[in-house]
């Protein structure tokens, strides 16, 4: 499996979109920092913005596009055929790609929060750095888990470019909208939002006062368990479909 991962990393060499997003993850807190500094908000508010928009909206879409690139790449160039005659089992190929997506998710997450912290140093209101890094790390992993349905879409529509990306965008935007409207739709990303709100909010006191938010928020562990459950179902389904895929 280690060589599968290594191979997977080599394959994305010179992939412009992935390079671009890696760069963007490091740079995107800059404009946000400027806004915060200008409007004299504190660091925790900046962090909340990055978490809400960056993690819950941008990150799933980016991960969806990357999943689509990773799976379509093998189909488009006939490399699935070359891999199959080696033979590389499909579940291993799927596994390697999913791990790459997790690694990238962690990188994006930690890089974005790290860059935000550098911005936070300017505002001088920064505290609890290790805790915040730990939260960003676990959030990245959880966001990637909640994005597993998009990986399934990338496997199902691997011959298509637009369709899986469209699915990702719709999934991420809809889940985000459900969250903002405090709807109780059981979409993985919305579930995650509901249980992580207490950790990412900049003003916990206010949250506790608003009753409908209080009712909307869910306990952490049951949520994470159901996320893992849904993710597992998606992966088993993907592995089955990928194995049946003829070249």
């Amino acid at each position: 499996m280690l060589k599968m991962l290594e191979a997977e990393f080599k394959k994305i060499k010179r992939q412009k979109f992935i390079l671009l997003t890696v760069l963007a993850a490091c740079l995107f807190p800059i404009p946000l920092t400027i806004v915060i500094v200008h409007s004299k908000l504190n660091y925790d508010t900046l962090l909340m913005f990055v978490m809400e928009f960056g993690f819950f909206l941008v990150l799933p879409i980016v991960l969806g596009i990357i999943a689509s690139i990773l799976f379509r790449m093998e189909n488009e160039n006939g490399t699935l055929k070359t891999l199959s005659v080696i033979p590389v089992p499909r579940w291993k190929l799927l596994g390697a790609k999913v791990i790459i997506i997790y690694i990238l998710a962690i990188f994006y997450g930690v890089a974005a929060i790290g860059a935000t912290m550098i911005g936070g140093l300017f505002t001088g209101t920064i505290s609890d750095i290790p805790l915040k890094l730990a939260i960003s790390l676990s959030m990245s992993v959880l966001i990637a888990t909640a994005s597993l349905p998009m990986i399934a879409a990338a496997v199902v529509f691997q011959k298509n470019f637009i369709l899986p990306i469209l699915c990702s965008v719709i999934y991420a935007v809809a889940s985000f909208a459900f969250s903002v409207m405090l709807l109780k739709v059981p979409a993985p990303l919305t579930l995650l939002f509901r249980c992580s709100l207490p950790f990412i909010t900049a003003n916990p006191e206010r949250m506790e006062m608003v009753e409908n938010v209080q009712n909307w928020v869910l306990p952490v562990f049951p949520c994470i368990l159901s996320l893992i459950g849904m993710g597992t179902v998606c992966m088993v389904l993907s592995a089955y479909i990928y194995r049946k895929q003829e070249v």
Binding site: K11, K13, G78, T79, T82, V85
Partner: protein, 307 residues
């Protein structure tokens, strides 16, 4: 029995309504080059895909190295090198980077395997050129390099000379022949170009519309088709009757009302001529001809030729 590297038994593939491969029994012997000849759409690629487990088998079975492949993939397929249709590589990587990935996934132990393989097919090692910028011929060479990199016992090559220039074709042919003759490798190769199979193969299987019409060694086929006497006569029907009376058991074939071929070269031609004439059959021409493989192909596929 043991010298069969590939054996299929009533191998059949159905795509929707279409039967692409019909109960095919292929026998590829160890150390020989087996040419699968057929026109486009005959079913060559589909047979190879089923042998390699790239597509499901509708019915029948495939044995490789004397074992049924089902459940044995992990043990059997590493002993094979293959190209199916166009060679599949990553366009954003160079040829060397591509081969290094596949070498790693194969667990190829020799560190110079990639370099050697590229050398053999005449591509530069550590070249900066991306695969997407390769010509069709270079892609095909890289495909062959990838297929031979791990020194497999069996090569399965689907139209490997497509897109190569004549010099390249001759080089690859020489290389494949050396692999087979000097290193005892078994090669299954497909082509729609008859002359190519003629020059390269030891054994031939002729496939047409999913049926394996003929399977034999090239030597046997050449012997069988060496010579015939062409008769142009006033009536082939009468001539055939006379022929049967005078020399029963002679091999002949009627092409149309006026043309027939006699395949028996031991026959006394003056006697046949005389017999025709005394029976009021006009003999306009009788000549000894060489039947080409192309004629033969036409004959067994029922009239359609091949390049």
């Amino acid at each position: 029995m043991n010298d069969l590297v590939i054996r299929t038994e009533n191998l059949t593939k159905v795509y929707g309504e279409q039967e692409a491969v019909k109960s095919v029994n292929v026998h590829v012997k160890k150390g020989r080059i087996y040419g699968l000849l057929g026109r486009n759409g005959a079913g060559k690629t589909t047979i190879m895909k089923m042998v390699l487990g790239l597509t499901s088998i509708t019915s029948g079975e495939v044995q490789l190295f004397g074992k049924n492949i089902r459940g044995q993939e992990k043990r059997i397929y590493p002993r094979i090198g293959a190209i199916i249709e166009t060679p599949g590589f990553y366009p954003n990587l160079t040829g060397t980077e591509n081969l290094e990935i596949f070498a790693k996934l194969r667990g190829t132990s020799r560190p110079d395997a990639v370099k050697n393989a590229l050398e053999v097919v005449g591509l530069p090692y550590k070249d900066k050129k991306l695969f997407s910028k390769y010509s069709l011929g270079m892609k095909q060479r890289l495909g062959i390099a990838n297929a031979i990199m791990h020194d497999p016992e069996l090569l399965i090559l689907d139209e490997p000379i497509n897109g190569l220039d004549p010099i390249g074709i001759a080089e690859i042919r020489k290389f494949l022949q050396d692999l087979s003759k000097e290193r005892g490798k078994t090669i299954l190769i497909s082509s729609h170009i008859l002359s190519e199979i003629d020059l390269l193969a030891d054994d031939i299987g002729i496939i047409h519309e999913g049926n394996l019409l003929e399977e034999s060694s090239m030597d046997e086929l050449r012997k069988k088709n060496q010579k015939y006497v062409l008769f142009r006569v006033s009536s082939t029907a009468t001539a055939a009757r006379i022929l049967e009376q005078k020399c029963g058991g002679v091999k002949y074939r009627i092409e149309d009302d006026n043309v027939m071929r006699i395949y028996d070269m031991d026959i006394d031609l003056s006697m046949v001529n005389q017999a025709f004439i005394t029976n009021n059959i006009g003999v306009y021409e009788s000549s000894v001809c060489d039947e080409s493989l192309e004629d033969y192909f036409k004959e067994i596929t029922g009239g359609v030729g091949i390049a």
